[in-house]
């Protein structure tokens, strides 16, 4: 499973640097965070790197969005009338302009626009079909249908079934899936939500569609178990989970409440640096160090013997450490068979659980980013998938 970079605030340099360091990779560009000129410049920078690729998320989730930069892009319609838009020239124009932009940016695939669905209904399904049909004519690169679902839609089994049934008629190479987390949680505590996302991805994959899941954090490493092709993640929380409100002007940027978090990949948890001081005092700091094989040297200084808060570990290093570790974890998450992949994910959960118990005993906690409450969520979701999709995934693993 590939890790793609979900572009967000302040990721210009990270994108260039990480794709360069990785000797290739994909950046999902964000018109909300980049002006037209910046989009072109960054796309050029990335695609000029060896194996560098870009995709454009058109972010047409809320057509009434009033985010200034997002709506300033040429493709954004000047006005949006629910009744006329989907049957008239405006949709055609939106698709045509986005197609041109994709061409200009040399995108690997054309991620189609789509509305954010708080619930899946006939209208939304019809709009999906209209978009996909309209895009067939301007198809000079693989088409990816966007499926952007609200938390309640994700939790509804009927909605999942309806999306999957409709997808059988979608003439696209893949799906770009973004799902709102329930209650704005960063780490999920609802196993139904997660099992339904896994189910959606499995369903798409078994229909022969590629799947990129956007706005992911490390909890979504579970997606390797259902054959997801890629997850996309980034620096701040608002690119590691999907907050639809960020496309509105009044969205409160979390960037105002900066904190530096260290990602401990074997605990699937993140820690504020002062808690690493506690770990040092309690003699367990070494156990928080990321395994060497994940290839991150960005956090070495925290483990140099000095008190972690004293080394002024920088935000930039924290982000790069997270992305480097997550990329290595994602790349290694998919194994030769469904069972091997699912078993490996369960083993990773077991190891994280054992480590977290030890860390909790000595007072080292990740607070809202501690994975302890998420472990059983992933286990439960994976169990559901083993029962419902296991036989088909097992049988078709080599083909998906």
């Amino acid at each position: 499973m590939e890790l793609q970079l979900q572009f967000g605030f302040g990721m210009m340099d990270h994108s260039r640097s990480m794709i360069d360091a990785w000797n290739g990779g994909t950046v999902v560009l964000s018109p909300r965070d980049l002006s037209a000129v910046q989009l072109e410049r960054l796309a050029g920078d990335v695609t000029s790197l060896p194996n560098g690729r870009v995709l454009l998320d058109p972010q047409f989730y809320l057509p009434h969005a009033d985010h200034e930069r997002l709506t300033s892009h040429d493709y954004w319609p000047a006005s949006y009338d629910t009744n006329d838009f989907w049957s008239g020239a405006e949709l055609r124009q939106l698709i045509a302009k986005l197609s041109d932009l994709n061409r200009k940016l040399a995108c690997e695939a054309f991620i189609l626009p789509s509305l954010f669905a708080e619930r899946v209904d006939e209208d939304w399904l019809a709009q999906q079909k209209v978009i996909i049909d309209e895009a067939q004519d301007s198809c000079d690169r693989p088409l990816f249908a966007t499926v952007a679902l609200g938390a309640d839609a994700v939790k509804s089994d009927e909605s999942i079934d309806e999306v999957l049934a409709a997808a059988e008629t979608w003439s696209v190479a893949g799906v770009y899936l973004v799902c709102e987390h329930p209650k704005g949680e960063y780490l999920l505590t609802d196993p139904t939500w997660l099992s339904n996302v896994l189910d959606l991805v499995a369903g798409f994959r078994l229909k022969g569609k590629s799947v990129i899941v956007g706005y992911c954090n490390h909890q979504m490493l579970a997606l390797a178990c259902v054959g997801a092709n890629a997850i996309a993640s980034g620096t701040w929380m608002n690119v590691r989970s999907f907050p639809p409100a960020k496309f509105r002007a009044q969205y409160e940027e979390e960037i105002k409440q900066r904190a530096i978090w260290y990602y401990c990949p074997q605990a699937l948890s993140e820690y504020k640096v002062p808690f690493l001081d506690i770990a040092k005092k309690q003699g367990v700091l070494a156990q928080l160090r990321a395994p060497e094989e994940l290839g991150s040297t960005y956090a070495d200084t925290l483990f140099s013997g000095v008190q972690p808060t004293a080394v002024n570990w920088a935000e930039q290093s924290a982000f790069r450490h997270y992305l480097q570790c997550l990329r290595a974890q994602a790349t290694g998450a998919r194994l030769d068979s469904f069972d091997a992949t699912a078993d490996a994910h369960e083993r990773a959960l077991d190891s994280a659980e054992a480590l977290l118990e030890l860390l909790h005993r000595v007072g080292v906690r990740g607070q809202l980013r501690d994975f302890a409450n998420a472990i059983d969520v992933n286990r439960a979701a994976l169990n559901v998938i083993r029962s419902s999709r296991g036989p088909m995934l097992r049988r078709n693993w080599a083909a998906i």
Binding site: D157, D161, A165, S387, P391, M392
Partner: protein
């Protein structure tokens, strides 16, 4: 009056006519045809839904399958004395007994289960190719011929996906047999209905054939409980001692998913799958 003698008088090309036990909607006779050999002649009673009868005939004539008896000829007889107008069908006769009768003597062995599954899936692959859903796969509608082959019978409630449905859209439940029809069928979700409904029914039939008991009906108090069991839990597939690779367990688990999207994509895929299951050495 429909008797053997009357049938002989109406169909002079038939000989050795014998009356079969028959259901409420038709009289059934076995016979020998001078050209087509062993046949059955079915005479549909006048009060039977004529559209359904025509759909059944259409289904069987559209599906060309070596696992489904061929309809050789059809017609109608006007004003049969004491009966009224009668539609008749003359079709290939399969001598043997239906799977319900076989199961009355106990569960099937491994080789029989695999052969039953494979032959019915061959039939369903042909049915699906004709864009038809059988909708009533169950032991009563599967015949084991005297040569050990299995045949799929009775397209009385088959759904032609390209034709207008004969079931009212507002009807709360669709046609089918309790305990075999999947949720999308008994909930009459017509848009959802496709060949995967028949895979579910076959999975139930195969589990019943393996164990000798119906996985949903056994111990259920009433009809609603059977429906609840189907909607709320996956098909309870037993551990199959002789299925060393687990492939049959997986196939039945996949075919028996209550959500059709989790089932194999069609009969053809399930057929390929079952053909890969190794026959147990002792079978």
């Amino acid at each position: 009056m429909v008797t053997t003698a009357w049938v002989a008088s109406q169909f002079p090309e038939l000989s050795a006519i014998t009356e079969y036990p028959h259901g409420g909607q038709k009289w059934v006779f076995g016979a020998t045809h001078h050209h087509d050999g062993a046949v059955v002649i079915k005479l549909i009673k006048p009060d039977t839904n004529a559209d359904r009868v025509q759909r059944e005939i259409l289904a069987v004539t559209q599906v060309r399958s070596p696992r489904i008896p061929t309809i050789f000829e059809q017609g109608s007889l006007k004003a049969v004395a004491g009966v009224g107008d009668v539609v008749w069908i003359r079709e290939q006769r399969v001598d043997g007994e239906n799977v319900r009768q076989v199961l009355a003597r106990g569960p099937l062995g491994p080789a029989e289960v695999l052969r039953l599954g494979q032959h019915v899936l061959e039939a369903l692959t042909d049915v699906a190719q004709a864009r038809i859903v059988h909708r009533d796969v169950k032991p009563e509608n599967i015949m084991r011929a005297t040569d050990g082959t299995y045949w799929l019978l009775d397209f009385g409630i088959a759904r032609h996906l390209e034709l207008t449905s004969l079931t009212a859209t507002a009807a709360l439940s669709g046609p089918g047999t309790l305990g075999y029809a999947p949720p999308e069928q008994f909930r009459n979700q017509k848009r959802e209905l496709d060949e995967r409904a028949d895979l579910f029914a076959l999975a139930v039939t195969l589990v019943e054939s393996l164990t000798g008991t119906h996985p949903y009906r056994e111990g259920a108090r009433d009809r609603p409980e059977v429906l609840r069991r189907i909607e709320q839990a996956p098909l309870p597939v037993p551990v199959i001692a002789w299925d060393a690779t687990g492939k049959l367990f997986d196939l039945l688990t996949a075919m028996g998913q209550r959500r059709k999207d989790c089932r194999p994509r069609g009969a053809a895929e399930a057929l390929t799958w079952i053909k890969e299951i190794p026959m147990p050495a002792a079978a």
